[in-house]
């Protein structure tokens, strides 16, 4: 057995165990449990001990039996350390240990002896570590957003670490923040405006982009190459350099505080990427189909409607979803163009809400949940389409 591999295995597996237990402790703390110490040294020692015992025992016991023994031992010691914890906390620790023991079970004296065993150990634990850490870091803010929206101002002030939700209370009390933002702050209206703007942008963009993309993909004309490179270059120009001239011109034309003005700007900013994505797809459609159509004396309008459109539903849906997402999430232009609370989009409304220092933060978070849920739902539901849209359009961000 290589000493290097052995040390690495013991250390990294116990650090992994420590991080798992710590995350569980953090989450438990947020449920109102008083935990003051992560007990780094003790848990590390325990982890090293368990991984060593695992090596010594090897295959003498059944895997499950071994895991249960480890888990009971650890839970007992940990329970003794932190003392008087509710049963669910200990169940969690028990579960973590079962998981951990299953993971380290495959290491034995033999495979630590192989070539590159230290690297393999490192890589395997880094992967586990990465999965746990990435999920935690990404999901935690979303978790906090949702939980905060169900709390009351007073509860948050008394103990900012107590994220536990009292489900026993009246449903009206539980969803109070949501009732408030819909009643007092007119969020229903903002949802309608945001939906109108986003869906409108999608429709107008498609109406403009499909013919243009068809022309770029299929027809020969003077300046074609120039046009296709400029599409990309134009797409790289950021909103922030357009803001001042658009603001001045829109003020003078009376297009500010007007959802129509927003629609025009959103359409124009998403058009280049829509054309770029669609023309790529149109090029992949076999030309013979269109030649047959020309024989049948269809004009370009007929070709687009009868041949191109039905064949490119997947590409069109991914463009539509991508454009919807951009328009729904857009913030800068809605900040610039909308001053009147009657024409706010959701993003602008939340920003307006936060501008008032008196606004309780659970309202802000309830608003954030309202604006986030639709977009995440669409993303999860249509992931296949959106991912291809994201990859194609990802020059922007």
């Amino acid at each position: 057995m290589k000493i290097k591999s052995l040390i690495l295995y013991c250390l990294i597996s116990s650090i992994f165990l420590f991080s798992l237990v710590s995350i569980w402790k953090v989450l438990s703390t947020l449920q109102g449990i008083e935990l003051k110490n992560l007990n780094f040294v003790i848990i590390l020692t325990l982890g090293i001990a368990i991984s060593l015992i695992n090596l010594i025992i090897g295959d003498k016991f059944h895997k499950a039996l071994k895991s249960i023994i480890f888990a009971i031992l650890f839970t007992f010691v940990d329970g003794y350390l932190v003392q008087l914890m509710p049963i669910w906390y200990n169940v969690g620790i028990f579960g973590i240990l079962i998981f951990y023991s299953f993971k380290i079970d495959k290491y034995n004296q033999k495979n630590l002896d192989l070539d590159h065993s230290s690297q393999t150990v490192l890589f395997e634990f880094l992967t586990l570590f990465g999965i746990v850490l990435f999920s935690f870091v990404i999901l935690f803010p979303f978790y906090m957003m949702i939980v905060t929206s169900f709390k009351t101002q007073a509860a948050l002030l008394i103990n900012p670490l107590d994220f536990s939700i009292n489900f026993a209370q009246d449903i009206k009390e539980l969803f109070k923040s949501y009732f408030v933002i819909f009643d007092t702050y007119k969020f229903g209206r903002y949802i309608l405006i945001s939906t109108f703007v986003s869906v409108g942008t999608v429709i107008i963009t498609l109406i403009f982009a499909i013919p243009a993309a068809y022309a770029v993909a299929r027809l020969n004309f003077f300046g074609k190459n120039f046009l296709s490179t400029s599409i990309l270059i134009i797409y790289m120009f950021p909103a922030i350099v357009l803001v001042i001239p658009l603001y001045t011109v829109f003020s003078q034309l009376g297009l500010r505080n007007n959802v129509g003005g927003l629609l025009i700007v959103y359409t124009a900013t998403t058009l280049p990427v829509a054309i770029y994505m669609l023309q790529g797809y149109f090029k992949s459609i076999p030309k013979e189909l269109e030649e047959a159509a020309i024989m049948d004396k269809l004009n370009w309008f007929g070709i687009i409607i009868k041949i191109i459109l039905p064949l490119s539903i997947p590409a069109i849906s991914s463009v539509a979803l991508y454009v919807f997402m951009i328009a729904w999430n857009e913030f800068l232009f809605s900040l610039m163009f909308l001053d009147n609370p009657n024409s706010f989009t959701l993003s602008r409304a939340i920003q307006y809400l936060s501008g008032d220092a008196e606004t309780p933060r659970q309202y802000l978070m309830a608003g954030s949940v309202v604006v986030t849920i639709p977009v995440l739902f669409i993303f999860v539901y249509f992931e296949k389409y959106l991912v291809s849209g994201l990859t194609a359009g990802s020059v922007k961000g």
Partner: protein, 419 residues
């Protein structure tokens, strides 16, 4: 025959392209050129409102005479700076009435009062009065009079259209705006944000490229920060990082990692004692960069994962036969396969992070050492209300951007040559 066909094809192409091109031209290209124009002018936010002649109509009954009624128009020039020339006024009256002692600037003809007020200076105000009398001695309907709205029109200079140019804005941008500081902050933000998001993107892609339970689920989760709305995410982070009621600080205090709460978004420098040396870390900027990495690494991840999945399995199998370890496989197979994607990603993300506005604006508003060039555009234009200055900063951004793009396309071209 073929000649006419190609002509038809050309015409069709232009017809199909025209709507999109016009729209993109007017909303994206025109503003970029307009920026150049505005940046050479001294224009404030208040100057861009076109001066309007306005009239507020007040209708009053006159005591003891129900057949007469007094109308007061509060006339004013809406602008405090600009004059209005040739102000014309028009208002309707009910039938069967006539004005008494009509002002000499006005005429009355078939129930319409027309006035020519001439020139109004800036801040001009006047109470203009008309008395109407019913010809048949009947009572005049007040509501009917109120329902008519006066129409006013006038000509004025548009400060944006005259030809007075100045270099003042650019002088201010470069010499009074802490330009170097601004540029460095933008550069730090862009560079470390880009590098960080690519590094984490590689890690995440490497992770998801392996087989494990819940892999597709993991992939969806990894993209959440990128698809979520900025506003919601930024405010959630702000709550999370708040020095007093924020979760992070309270957790760290609770587990005794820190003794004093850290104001992660509001403190410019954090002094760290490192082997006797005092290192000054730009705390707020670092936090903002971490948010940036958190939000944009999914994009790098998506790109790199797509590339990784296209790497032929045989390469790894051959490496296994040769007895290569995981580290060696990563170094000699994976890394060379993804360098092309990484360099493209780096340039694209560099350009985009360079222009990022929303994230910093929502998190810190540009305070405590996080003022980047895009934030400065907003600040100059809308906080200090100097539109000309804002435009000048935009121009600087556009120029730097063109430079980056030039380098980008040059490198892209060279890469294409190599292959």
């Amino acid at each position: 025959m073929s000649d006419t066909l190609s002509k038809i094809e050309k015409r069709t192409a232009y017809i199909l392209l025209l709507p999109a091109v016009i729209l993109v031209f007017s909303i994206i290209l025109f503003p970029i050129f307009a920026n150049v124009w505005i940046s050479f002018k001294e224009v404030g936010l208040k100057d861009i409102r076109i001066p309007e002649p306005r009239a507020k109509k007040i209708v009053k009954s006159i005591k003891d005479s129900s057949d007469e009624i007094k109308i007061i128009y509060k006339l004013r020039n809406s602008s405090l700076i600009l004059d209005i020339r040739d102000v014309k006024f028009q208002d309707k009256t009910p039938k069967n009435v006539e004005p008494l002692n009509l002002d000499e600037r006005c005429q009355f003809k078939s129930n319409i009062i027309n006035c020519n007020f001439g020139n109004w200076k800036a801040k001009y105000k006047e109470n203009f009065q008309i008395i109407l009398k019913n010809k048949e001695g009947k009572k005049i309907n007040k509501k009917e009079i109120k329902s008519f709205k006066p129409k006013l029109s006038g000509k004025s200079d548009n400060i944006l259209l005259n030809t007075n140019f100045t270099l003042k804005n650019f002088k201010k941008v470069f010499f009074q705006n802490e330009f170097f500081d601004l540029l460095m902050t933008t550069f730090y933000y862009t560079f470390f944000g880009t590098i960080g998001s690519i590094v984490f993107g590689i890690l995440a892609a490497q992770l998801v490229n392996q087989k494990f339970f819940g892999r597709t689920f993991m992939r969806s989760i990894l993209l959440f920060p990128y698809v979520g709305p900025v506003v919601a995410l930024a405010y959630t982070w702000e709550l999370l990082l708040d020095p007093y009621s924020g979760t992070l600080n309270n957790l760290l205090l609770n587990f005794q990692v820190i003794q004093e709460p850290l104001n992660l978004l509001g403190q410019k420098y954090l002094t760290i004692n490192f082997f006797g040396f005092d290192l000054k870390l730009r705390l707020a900027l670092t936090t903002v960069i971490i948010f940036e990495i958190w939000r944009y690494f999914p994009l790098a991840f998506l790109f790199i994962l797509a590339r990784l999945q296209a790497v032929p399995k045989e390469l790894y199998e051959a490496a296994d036969v040769d007895g290569a370890g995981p580290l060696q496989k990563f170094k000699s197979i994976t890394l060379p396969q993804i360098t092309a994607v990484i360099s493209i990603l780096f340039m694209i993300r560099f350009i985009w992070n360079f222009n990022k506005f929303e994230d910093i604006f929502l998190l810190t508003g540009g305070a405590s050492g996080t003022r980047t060039l895009p934030i400065n555009v907003y600040e100059q234009g809308f906080t200090i209300s100097d539109i000309g200055m804002g435009s000048a900063v935009s121009i600087v951004i556009v120029l730097l951007l063109l430079m980056f793009m030039f380098i980008y396309f040059r490198l892209l071209g060279r890469r294409a040559d190599e292959n």
